[in-house]
């Protein structure tokens, strides 16, 4: 009797677990699936008739996409976002790797103090720096410019911290061998450490991309004029809360905005997950 009850509880527990797991599986994917369906459905049909549970019309989808893309502002916003991300990645990887090289592999006076300062900044919320950084950028006359968008985020404490952890695993023997061969301090960095840490750099690049593409608060502070607007602001253009027809335009804009992150995620899934896991294990 006792054994049967235990087995029943076990079965019940497992069943509930599976139900919840499947439920969350559906909930995770559904909004994105829904967005996709709306784009590929004929416009104007009320939800009661077609609840948009699956795509129904490829031609409607193509019409939606070409309508949105044909607006020159959309294309420009896309280009702005791509440029913003590319510059942010390049600058961030360069600055953080130079500094991480020192913190991970060498000792020098003041090293611990400097590292502690950086670590503390991980605690400082954007709230404190948002308004003053805006004031500084305004004073530099960098408002509404790519410089103003990119530069403030370059010295990323998170990136430095992550790269330092990765760099610590670089084998000293190879570095010593390079030094014996006559490589300069910078040369060791450039010719030995960087190539060996390619995975870490790629991971940082991808995480920076995700964070920069999704950055909403900074562009709406800095990029007000049409020529510098980014994708994160563009999606709100087609916004008439009462008209059902706009849901198509909105969802199409959303889909286009989500395209790049989804592609990057699909290609680099392993690196992304590895990068995030490491922060937890070593944090």
């Amino acid at each position: 009797m006792q054994k049967n009850r235990k087995k029943f509880h076990f079965r019940l527990g497992r069943t509930i677990a599976w139900i919840l797991a499947i439920a969350f599986f559906i909930i995770s994917l559904f909004p994105i699936w829904w967005m996709f369906n709306i784009v590929f459905s004929p416009a104007g049909v009320p939800i009661a008739i077609n609840p948009r549970l699956y795509p129904t019309s490829i031609s409607a989808g193509i019409k939606n996409i070409t309508f949105i893309l044909s607006e020159s502002n959309v294309f420009r916003a896309y280009m702005n976002s791509i440029t913003y991300c590319a510059l942010e990645i390049a600058g961030s990887v360069l600055l953080c790797s130079l500094a991480a090289y020192e913190f991970a592999l060498f000792d020098f006076p003041g090293k611990n103090v400097l590292f502690a300062v950086i670590l503390l900044s991980l605690m400082v919320p954007t709230a404190v720096t948002l308004v003053p950084t805006f004031l500084l950028v305004a004073r530099l006359n960098w408002l509404n410019s790519m410089r103003g968008l990119v530069v403030p985020g370059l010295a990323s404490a998170f990136g430095l911290f992550m790269l330092t952890q990765f760099f610590k695993d670089i084998p000293r023997e190879i570095m010593d061998a390079a030094e014996i061969d006559g490589a300069s301090h910078f040369g060791i960095y450039w010719y030995v450490v960087l190539p060996l840490s390619r995975n870490a750099l790629i991971t940082l690049a991808i995480l920076t991309f995700m964070m920069t593409w999704g950055n909403f608060i900074w562009p709406i502070v800095i990029a007000k004029r049409a020529e510098i607007i980014t994708v994160s602001q563009m999606i709100n253009w087609y916004n008439d809360p009462n008209s059902f027809a706009t849901i198509n335009s909105q969802m199409t804009a959303f889909l286009l905005a989500a395209l790049l992150p989804i592609i990057v995620y699909t290609l680099f899934q392993r690196q992304i997950i590895q990068g995030i896991s490491i922060t937890g294990l070593k944090g």
């Binding site: 076990f10 599986f25 994105i32 939800i47 404190v128 720096t129 805006f134 530069v151 999606i235 849901i247």
Partner: protein, 321 residues
């Protein structure tokens, strides 16, 4: 004097055996000369760090004691900004909302993430990867996109949620305009998005627990539930703490989702009855809506004070364990 370091036949002059006396100026110069290349490599990062991070903090602190609208000259007002804020009803509302929001979304989010991690950990092979990817996809969506899609899902007539509720026979809920419900709508979006991120971190922690611990427990007769309580959670403690602390720090700064869910602008934000008004939003609105930079700076520091307080409490509680 016998000196084993010197091999027979090597030069043994008086100069070799001279004792090094007193270092002073020579060594500082030598230290600088030896280390300059390190500082040089650090310079690019620290230049931008000081100019665009440390200096703004100082500037913000300074500005918070002034009244400034960007056009007229700044007037020194001492602690007035802080005092006025602490008395302002919007400020109190935003902090109340924030505490309510954080106290719901962090426990719920982490519990969900933990359960998902346990589930994915129990799967094998390619199913494990597929399910993990599915749970992780919401995190890959940019937050502004997630909030915008959910805004449509919450829409009264055309939104999927109310439509689904209708099929099941329930009444529609006014997710984004009913002040009593709005916080929960926001929590749902946040949990939807953050569960995958936290799950990945917890999963990595789970995989680090040696199988032997579970085997030993099973020999002692423990069932699945007991295994989790007595082995998994204690072993996972550092990772759990990290996830909880990170969760609090992010949640306390919430901006994107409530801003977009309520279609806020700098002229009007926070939704009906300011149910979704949060500190970062209020600070943003005061800086760029009514343009009171001093007040906004003070707001930022007050929010930071709260974050530091809560984080310290977390660390303190952990130390007591």
């Amino acid at each position: 004097m016998e000196n084993a370091e010197y091999l027979p036949g090597s030069a043994k002059t008086n100069r070799d055996m001279r004792v090094d006396r007193g270092k002073a100026p020579v060594s500082i110069l030598r230290g600088a000369r030896k280390n300059y290349k390190h500082y040089l490599m650090l310079l690019p990062f620290f230049f931008f760090y000081v100019v665009f991070f440390l200096y703004p903090i100082y500037l913000g602190f300074n500005t918070s004691f002034y009244k400034w609208d960007g056009v007229n000259p700044a007037q020194y007002v001492g602690l007035n900004n802080y005092i006025n804020l602490l008395r302002s009803s919007d400020f109190i509302k935003s902090f109340t909302n924030l505490l309510k929001y954080v106290s719901i979304t962090v426990p719920v989010g982490i519990t969900v993430a933990f359960l998902l991690a346990l589930f994915v950990n129990s799967l094998k092979g390619s199913w494990s990867t597929i399910v993990r990817s599915a749970y992780f996809i919401p995190t890959m969506m940019p937050l502004f996109l997630a909030a915008s899609i959910w805004r449509w899902m919450y829409a009264p007539e055309v939104g999927m949620i109310n439509t689904a509720l209708g099929w099941l026979g329930f009444d529609s809920i006014n997710w984004l305009k009913d002040p009593k419900v709005m916080i929960f709508s926001l929590v749902m979006v946040d949990v939807w998005r953050s569960a995958g991120w936290n799950m990945v971190i917890l999963l990595a922690g789970l995989k680090n627990i040696p199988e032997e611990y579970y085997d030993a427990a099973r020999v002692d007769g423990a069932n699945k539930f007991q295994e989790v309580i007595y082995i998994t959670i204690p072993q996972l403690e550092p990772v759990l703490f990290f996830v909880i602390a990170q969760g609090f720090i992010f949640a306390l700064q919430v901006f994107d989702a409530p801003w977009l869910l309520t279609l806020s602008t700098t002229q009007g934000y926070g939704g009906r009855l300011k149910a979704l008004l949060f500190p970062t939003m209020d600070m943003f609105g005061r800086a760029f809506g009514v343009v009171k930079f001093g007040e906004a700076s003070a707001y930022g520091f007050l929010l930071t004070a709260l974050i530091v307080t809560i984080t310290s409490i977390l660390f303190f509680l952990r130390r007591r364990e």
